[in-house]
Amino acid sequence: MPVKWVLYWQPNQGSTVSTQILNEAAQCAESINGVKEGRWKATLNYYKPMLRDQSNHPDLPRDFLGISLADQPSKYYFIIRSQRIVVEADASIQLIMEKLQSYKSKVSLYFDGFQYQLGDFRLRVGRVVPVHSESIRGIVMEVEYLPISSVEKARKVMEEFVEIWHEALSKRSLSGKFVNTELNFGEFGLGDHYTPQHTGVQYAIVMAHMIATVQPVVRG
């Protein structure tokens, strides 16, 4: 599977994320000869433990999330970032979780937007919105380098692409930038050969950073 980086939009201090930035990013992709290929969508669920006695709180993770990726419609990925755990499962695992009734999905988010082909790169730019809401909470960007599956081998060419992207986007005078989170896949038991589990982990890290650094949004 090709190596993918997942970046997120980090607004400058005092700025907010908005649909305008998403539109600018999309136009930027087209301006560097990106060919629009269609839409993409992913879904992320934050799970919370269900406790019979609220006063008695066993030591349970607060960062348990599940994600359904656009590239893997029959699969589902669980990540517990604090424990460095990532699990790939069939999509039917969601039914099992419902039957167990030990954890419930309390917050669900969609990632959706457009996909572009740029030579050997595939770019996806998308907004982050809560389910049943149109309020944009963030913007993510996936950069995929199709010829290479090795995380290390792809690093240099990915860095160069991101540099070109930053340069192209800087001409639009937006107050913020796309940020790549450096993470050690090895801590999650993942190797150099890229897999959808690597993508799941990146989304978990990106969401953690987004929650910590992005200000609450204005509509639109």
Binding site: P49, R52, D53, A89, A91, S92, I93, K99, S102
Partner: protein, 218 residues
């Protein structure tokens, strides 16, 4: 959802049963070596206490594969009583090898574990039917599969299952029931938790199958 029946057979008759199944199923048998871990939620976790099974297929190459399984309650009522097989909810999902660690982190503890060793046949006969014949083994120490010993020496368990849906479970149940009649000379199959013991004439049936060299056409 699945239809399921099970029964017990003396180990000495398993070879005869295998010959019978080979003739009936028309497929190659598959080795079965599954480490089954049953996990239960810690106190206070969940609306109700919950249980989940993790199955590790030790015979897969290049490395063992894992499945998570949730078995639900059996269908009840007059309709269920009239069906000779158990119909129950069952959901499975393949998972990557970290699943056990994940469930431990989520507040699930190991309740018990078993090692099932034997063989299975998977075939199509008006339904997708699976028959497994295995010894059930317990471990003296946690996860010590190499030291597993039979729970009931001299006896093995036969399980027949077939996936079903709310729309077709009657037909699937009939297919399973019909198939089980062929096994009646050697093993009596019934709903789980309703024990009927071994077949008293199994020895004679086994002798007949074995002396025939396995060439009996059924």
């Amino acid at each position: 959802m699945e239809c399921v029946v099970q029964g017990i057979i003396e180990t000495q008759h398993v070879e005869a049963l295998e010959i019978l199944l080979q003739g009936l199923c028309g497929v190659q048998r598959e080795r079965l070596r599954v480490h089954e871990l049953t996990l239960k939620s810690v106190p206070n976790l969940g609306v109700v206490s919950s249980e989940v099974r993790l199955l590790c297929d030790l015979d897969q190459q290049p490395e063992p594969t894992w499945t998570v399984k949730h078995v639900g309650g059996a269908m009840r009522g007059a309709g269920a009583d009239q069906i000779s097989v158990m119909v129950r909810t069952m959901i499975e999902s393949k998972v990557s090898k970290n699943a056990l660690r994940m469930f431990y982190s989520l507040g699930y503890k190991l309740d018990h574990e078993l090692l099932k060793v034997g063989f299975a046949f998977h075939f199509q006969r008006n339904a997708h039917i699976s028959v497994s014949v295995s010894s059930v083994n317990k471990m003296p120490k946690i996860h010590a599969i190499d030291e597993a010993v039979p729970v009931t020496p001299g006896m093995q368990i036969v399980v027949v299952t077939a996936p079903a849906t709310p729309e077709n479970y009657s037909e699937v149940a009939a297919a399973v029931s019909s198939f089980c009649e062929f096994l009646a000379p050697l093993v009596h199959l019934s709903k789980p938790f309703i024990s009927t013991g071994v077949v008293p004439t199994a020895a004679a049936a086994a002798a007949s199958l074995m002396s025939d060299g396995g060439g009996t056409t059924l």
